[in-house]
Amino acid sequence: MKNKDIERAIRKICITKTQAETTDAEMDKQTLSDALAAYDNSKNLKSMIFKTDIWRVIMKSPITKITSAAVVALAILLPLSYGAAKLIKRFITISQMPAIKVDFPSGYDGALSPDGRYLAGNTWNSELIVIDTSTGEQRKLAENCYGSVVWSTDVNEIAVVRSGQEQEKDVLLAVSSITSKTRTLMEDPPLLQDWSPNGRFILGIRKPAVNAYSTVMVNLRNKEETVLAEETENRPSPRFSPNGHLASYVTKQNDQSVLHLRRIDGTNDVKFAEFPGEISKPIWAPDGTHVIFTGTQKGIDRQHKDLWALRVEGDRFVGAPFPVVPDVEQMEFYNWSRNGQLAYRTSFELGGMFTLPMDLQTGKATGAPRQLVRRAGFSANHCWSPDGKQIALRKEGELIFISASNGEKIRILPLPGTRGDLGYYGRGMSWSPDGKWIAFSGFDKEKNAGIFLATLETGDVRPLVLLDEKLAHFDPTWAPDSKTIAYAYKGDVYVVDVEDGKSRRITAPEEREHKRAGRPVFAPDGRSVAYIVGQRILATTIDGQETREIFHLKNKKIWGINIFSWSPDGRHIVFTPGNNEIYCVPTDGGEPYQIADLSNLGDHAWAWMPKWSPTGDTISFTVSHEKYQYWVMTDLLPTAELDGQK
C-alpha cells in the first residue's frame, strides 16, 4: 500500500467508526450543566445590588407589571460630573416594546427600522428575525446569521453576515425584509457595524490580533477596503453619519479614549480626546446634530456608566459633552432610528439565593420560593450552619455568613492562602456538624487543587488533601461525626480522615458500570455516602463493601439529576435537574414530585445547589437568571441643545 492509500484508509476508518456517533441528550445535559456551572463560578461577577433611585424603580416595575407597550415619563435630575456642577430638570419618554420572546445576545446588536415599525436581530439560534414592534409578531428571514444587523434606509433590506458552512467563506447579505430574498454584498466581510445610507459602503471591524481591533470601510462595488483606524485595544464601534459623509469611531491613544469624526473620503479627521473616562459605542442622532456615547468614569466606590451627547456641526465637534441619561450600566444601545427612537436592550440579573419552606414529615413544600439574597458577586457554593441559623457563601477570597432568615450579612471571614486571582474556587463546601470548620474545594497560592479546611474561630486555612486535577469539583461533604469527609475525584468517591489526612476510595468502577460517580453527599446516619451516577443515585458504605441504589430517575420528562441533598431524617432527597424545577423523592421508593417551579421567573431561570437545612424546615438553593427587555427612548436631548442654544 502507498502512503496515499493508507491515508485514505485511515480517514475511512475514522469516519466509519464515528459516523453514527453523536452526543446523546443525557451527555449534553450533563456536560452543559457542568460547563455552565464552572463558567458561572469563574466569572468575576460584578456587584448587582440595586439602588432604590427613581431610575431603578421605574425600570424595575415593568418586569412584572407591563407586558404590552407602556409609556413612562421620567423626570430626571442629572448630576453633571463633567463641566459645570448644575442640575438639569427635563423629561425623557421611554416605552417598552411589546413582549419579545426571543433574546438577541449581548453584542449582536439588534436594529430598529428607520420608521420604528420593526426590530430586527440575530438570535442565538443564528436566525435573523424581524419583529413587528406594535404587535410582537415575528418572522424568520434567514438562518446561520450572526453579529449585528443594519437596516437599509428604505426599510426594504437588512444587512447581515451569514456564517460559511464547512469550507465556505462568510458572506455579507442584504436580506429583503418582505420576501426574505437575499443578495450577496461581499464575501469574507469584516464584522458588520454599519451600512451607509446610499448602500454603497459598510463599516466593520477586523480583528488582527488578540484584543486588537481595526476599523475598516469597504466599498461594496469594487470591494476596496480602507483601514480607517489601525489596531486599537477597545471596540471602535464605527457608524456612518445620517448623511453618509462622515464616520465616527473610537480609538485609544496613550490610554485616552479618542472619539473620531472622519470624512469618508479621507480628507478630514477630527478628534475629541478630552473625555475623562472611557468612550464607547458612539451613535448618531437621526438629524446628525449630535453623537451620543456611553461614558464610563471611575467613581470613589464604583464606576459610573452614563449616556453622554456631543454636538456636531459640519464635520467638527462643538463644545463639551454633556450627560443625557444617567446610570446606563445595564443598557445596551442599538441604534437611533430616523423616527427619533433610540432602541436599547436592558438586562436584569434576577438570580440569587432562594429558600423554600418545607414540611420534613411529608417532604412537601409549604410555601413558595423566596429570594433571600440578590446575586451580589457570590458563587453558587453555600452551606448551612449546624444550627440552621446561618448560611455561609463563597465570594472571592472570603467566606460570607448571612442570616438564614433574612439574608442579612453577619460576618466576613477572609481565606488566607487560597488562590484569589482566578475568581474560581471549585465546587462544593460543607460546614462540619461540630461547627468548627468549613471544608471547601479550591486552589492554594501554588495552584494546587484540593480540599481545604477553614477554622471558623481563627480563620486559619489548611489543606486537607491535595489532588491532581485542573477542576476542583470535589464536592466535599462531612460525616455526621465530623471526623471524615467524603469527596469526588476523577469519577470516584473517596473518604478522608480529617485527623491524619489519609484517603481511600470507596466506589468500585464495575459497580457504577464504569460511569463517573460524582457530587457525593454523606447519609444522615453517617454509614454511607450517596453520589450520582448518570440517572441514578447510589450509596456505598464507607468501608466500600456494599452499594445500593437509592433512586433511579426513569421519568423522561425530568431533565436529569444535577445535584442533590438528603433531608436530615434521611427520608427524602431533593434534587435539581439543571433547569427551573426542583424535585423531591422518597428514599424508600416512589416517584419524584415537583416541589418548586421557577418558570414564573422565566424559561431560562436555573435552580442549582439545593441544600436541606439541618433543621429540615427549609431548602436553600441558588438561581441563575437574567432577563432582557427591549425599550425605546425619545426626547433624550435637552430642548436647548436641539435648538442649538447652548
Binding site: 500500500m1 502507498k2 502512503n3 493508507i6 491515508e7 484508509a9 485511515i10 480517514r11 475511512k12 476508518i13 475514522c14 469516519i15 466509519t16 467508526k17 464515528t18 459516523q19 456517533e21 453523536t22 452526543t23 451527555m27 449534553d28 450533563q30 456536560t31 452543559l32 457542568d34 460547563a35 455552565l36 464552572a38 463558567y39 458561572d40 463560578n41 469563574s42 466569572k43 468575576n44 433574546d103 445576545p105 449581548s106 453584542g107 442565538w124 450572526y146 453579529g147 453576515v161 456564517s163 460559511g164 462568510d170 464584522l191 480583528k207 488578540v210 475568581g423 474560581y424 485542573k470 477542576l471 469539583h473 469519577g491 464504569h514 460511569k515 463517573r516
Partner: protein, 179 residues
C-alpha cells in the same frame, strides 16, 4: 471563522449562551475525535465533558491564538493522551463496533475495502499514541502540521517526524502482511 472569535469574545464578556452555542457547534466533532483516539465511547464522553467544562472554567482568561475548533480538538487529544499515560493503556479495538466501509455501489469493492480497512485499523491501533494522534489530527481532523505542532506544543519538525514515522511503520506492517 469570524463567528468563533465573536463567540469567544462574547464568552469573555460573560454571556453564557455563547458557551451553549460553542458546545452545540463542536460537540460531535470533539466526541468523534475522542472516540477515534480512545476507542472507548464512555472514555470519549468523559473526555469531551472534561474539555468543555475546563474550557468554560478558564474561558475568561483564554487567549486564543489558533482557531477555536483546533484548540478544542487539541484539548481532546491532550486529554486522551494523558488518560492513556495514566492508565498505561494500550489502545484497544472499539468494543462492539464492526468495522465496515461506507457503502459503495459495487459489492465486490465493498468487501475488499472492508477487509483492507480492518487491517489498516489493526495496524493503526498498534502505533504509539503520539504517532496515532498526529496522523488522526492530520488525516481525519484535517489540521495542518503547523497547527498540530502549535496545539500539541511540539515543533513542526517533530510533528512531521511523528507523522512520517507512523506512516512508514503502517506501510511496512501492511506491506509485509501482504507478502
Amino acid at each position: 471563522m469570524v463567528e468563533d472569535k465573536w463567540l469567544v469574545w462574547k464568552l469573555k464578556c460573560g454571556d453564557r449562551s455563547a458557551l451553549c452555542r460553542i458546545y452545540e457547534k463542536y460537540k460531535n466533532d470533539l466526541l468523534k475525535l475522542a472516540l477515534v483516539l480512545s476507542n472507548d465511547r464512555s472514555v470519549a464522553e468523559d473526555v469531551v465533558h472534561d474539555v468543555i467544562v475546563s474550557f468554560a472554567q478558564f474561558a475568561g482568561r483564554l487567549e486564543l491564538k489558533e482557531n477555536l475548533k483546533g484548540y478544542l480538538l487539541s484539548s481532546v487529544a491532550n486529554r486522551v493522551r494523558n488518560l492513556n499515560r495514566a492508565k498505561h493503556q494500550v489502545n484497544k479495538e472499539l468494543d462492539g463496533v464492526e468495522m465496515t466501509a461506507p457503502a459503495s455501489n459495487r459489492p465486490d469493492r465493498w468487501a475488499i475495502s472492508t477487509e483492507e480497512l480492518q487491517r489498516v485499523n489493526q495496524a493503526l491501533s498498534q502505533l504509539p499514541f503520539q504517532q496515532q494522534e498526529v496522523i488522526i489530527l492530520h488525516v481525519y481532523s484535517r489540521l495542518k502540521f503547523k497547527a498540530i505542532a502549535k496545539l500539541l506544543g511540539i515543533s513542526v519538525h517533530t510533528t512531521r517526524g511523528r507523522y512520517r514515522y507512523g506512516l512508514d511503520r503502517l506501510r511496512s506492517q501492511l506491506n509485509s502482511e501482504i507478502k
